[in-house]
Symmetry: C2
């Protein structure tokens, strides 16, 4: 395990994006999104993915200087063509469009096509919460999840993030994959050579398994709910809705046609849309009731839930976003832990792009 | 088991609402919503609940002639005060406001306070889909669900429905509680004297149990995901978001302050808002891309998912809304099955309101 200061890590990430040809503003934005994941403890979506973005760029699948544009709109809705840019850059810019629409008519909803992986969903919805709006953010992703009764992988882990502003309390930030667990959790178990709990994955024939490597052998992640008897059709519904809002609505590749994140997998030979899709929304809370009134009730909601009687005195009820805030405070002070394979990957990236090695 | 023709049943339900003092238009609307549940096979939310509405009316908690109004708005958002009306009436009328806003500015989002139970969520979102819009519908409800790590019930089963229009295929209609299962499923097992599968409920101390009567003994439903190890914090996040959008945003009773559906339970002595809350939304699909283009890709999405390789050849992958459509077709032709206790309840209602007995 290596520990690195967040500012040093961010400078390195900015340099990588600059070397890829991104404009300075975009390189900074993309680095902010990646670092937010590492600070919040979502290690699978931070710099651990940097090498993946570089490989997609090498394969010509990421355009570092996208000429993104609104292609279709009404006062409260729009579709944005991301011009194959980094999702890390396109998504926060699309959220700005949503925020402007919300400022004008109360809410703004943007479906994005022709984009790439956008990092953690929570980052984008938090941009709206900072403006006293409820922020929504979703994306489709490489197909890894099998619908209820399916052997075949049809959906990505298709996350949903909802950020809701509070007053004195910290904002409510829910950010979760619509599968039972995200792929990152399997990767951790594989490194440790451990089995998965029941209900996370199925093997290539659709049978339940505890093999953390099942995905590599043609298996699939299970939708939120884990098994049909525990209502995993609800996770399938949610993942499907995210896919449709992000990709069918915008004109991106949907379902099994969603482009893979790993550059060594080929793109669909019969594409139904362009790139990956996102869906972003912002709703002004004062489009519904006076802002201070809303925030004071949000504070009351949060305090009441924090004080719910716990099953075990040592583990109180948490508010969505609380663990991520604690991680951020800790890592800003003590540094960001990086696993050895991640450091090796970053060193390889540095060499490839003729950058100085990451300093610890 | 009794079988009754849907038209006869609907006439009876209309008469009940008329006797409660509802205007003709409202009685018809409320009956349509209840019958939609019985036709779609969501038996727990249809006429089985009629006696519950009547009791709430007797207790003075339902106003049959509500003077509902928009109390706050922007071009794409609004809050509606339901004036303690039937949710069965207020919710579809609120959806009409959402649809009008969407016609004007692309989308419309309505948070409703001071309402009551609104029947099946799917009915309301389908009103938008009929207009080539994506319809959203949610509601908070009596607290029966324990958040992750909580012994205490803090949330309702807080359902979410999303209806998405297709072209030649049937519309996509997802409609599900954000708990692992809805209370109706427990009631069925209790009648049969059977245990629940694992992961549906916890007992009053927060321990897992298979006792279908656990709720009556102070236990709680578990959030979607079923157990912490299977990510039930995600169901807790979803249920919380529904609660906040429906009730904190509008000014209704939220969390444990949500008013109970059963009239024998008292209202909170320290209310934080008025009545129950809903959240309804409509987004024009042609606010994002040409309507026919969207619909043809929706058809393609649906066909591809229907043809996903099944685990078991005898059970193909279903599209959200498919089983409910099959039920509707069957029950329109063959009648609606009613359990004996439901028929007894309806006979009691008829007697109480001096109506003719239900004829089979």
């Amino acid at each position: 395990m290596f520990i690195i200061n967040d500012t040093k890590l961010k400078e390195f990430v900015i340099d990588v994006f600059l070397q890829m040809g991104c404009p300075e503003e975009d390189a900074l934005l993309a680095a902010n999104v990646l670092l937010a994941a590492d600070l919040r403890g979502v290690d699978s979506h931070g710099v651990a993915r940097l090498t993946g973005y570089v490989r997609l760029w090498e394969a010509g699948r990421i355009n570092p200087t996208p000429n993104w544009k609104v292609t279709y709109q009404t006062p409260s809705t729009a579709t944005i063509d991301g011009d194959a840019g980094l999702g890390l850059v396109i998504a926060p810019k699309a959220m700005q469009v949503a925020i402007e629409k919300a400022e004008n008519v109360g809410s703004g909803w943007i479906s994005v096509k022709n984009s790439n992986h956008f990092g953690i969903a929570g980052y984008h919805s938090m941009l709206a919460a900072e403006k006293d709006m409820i922020g929504w953010s979703m994306t489709n992703a490489s197909p890894l999840v099998a619908p209820t009764h399916s052997k075949e992988r049809m959906l990505g882990t298709n996350p949903i993030a909802i950020a809701i502003p509070a007053g004195e309390e910290n904002d409510f930030v829910a950010d979760f994959a619509t599968s039972t667990v995200a792929n990152g959790k399997l990767e951790i178990l594989q490194r440790k050579n451990e089995d998965t709990p029941n209900g996370w994955v199925q093997d290539k024939d659709g049978n339940s398994t505890n093999n953390a490597a099942a995905l590599k052998d043609g298996g699939a992640l299970l939708p939120l709910g884990s098994e049909p008897m525990r209502s995993n059709h609800k996770g399938y519904c949610l993942g499907s809705a995210v896919d449709i809002l992000s990709a069918v609505l915008s004109g991106a590749g949907y379902g099994p046609w969603a482009p893979p994140f790993v550059s060594f997998l080929p793109l669909a030979s019969d594409p139904v849309g362009e790139g990956l899709g996102h869906f972003l929304g912002a709703m002004r809370v004062d489009g519904f009731r006076p802002k201070e009134e809303f925030k004071s009730h949000m504070d009351n909601w949060i305090r009441r839930f924090k004080s719910a009687t716990p099953i075990d005195e040592s583990q109180r009820v948490l508010i969505p976003g609380e663990p991520e805030l604690e991680n951020t405070a800790y890592r800003l002070k003590n540094g960001i832990p990086l696993l050895e394979p991640v450091v090796r990957d970053l060193e390889e990236v540095a060499k490839k792009l003729k950058l100085d090695k990451l300093k610890f």
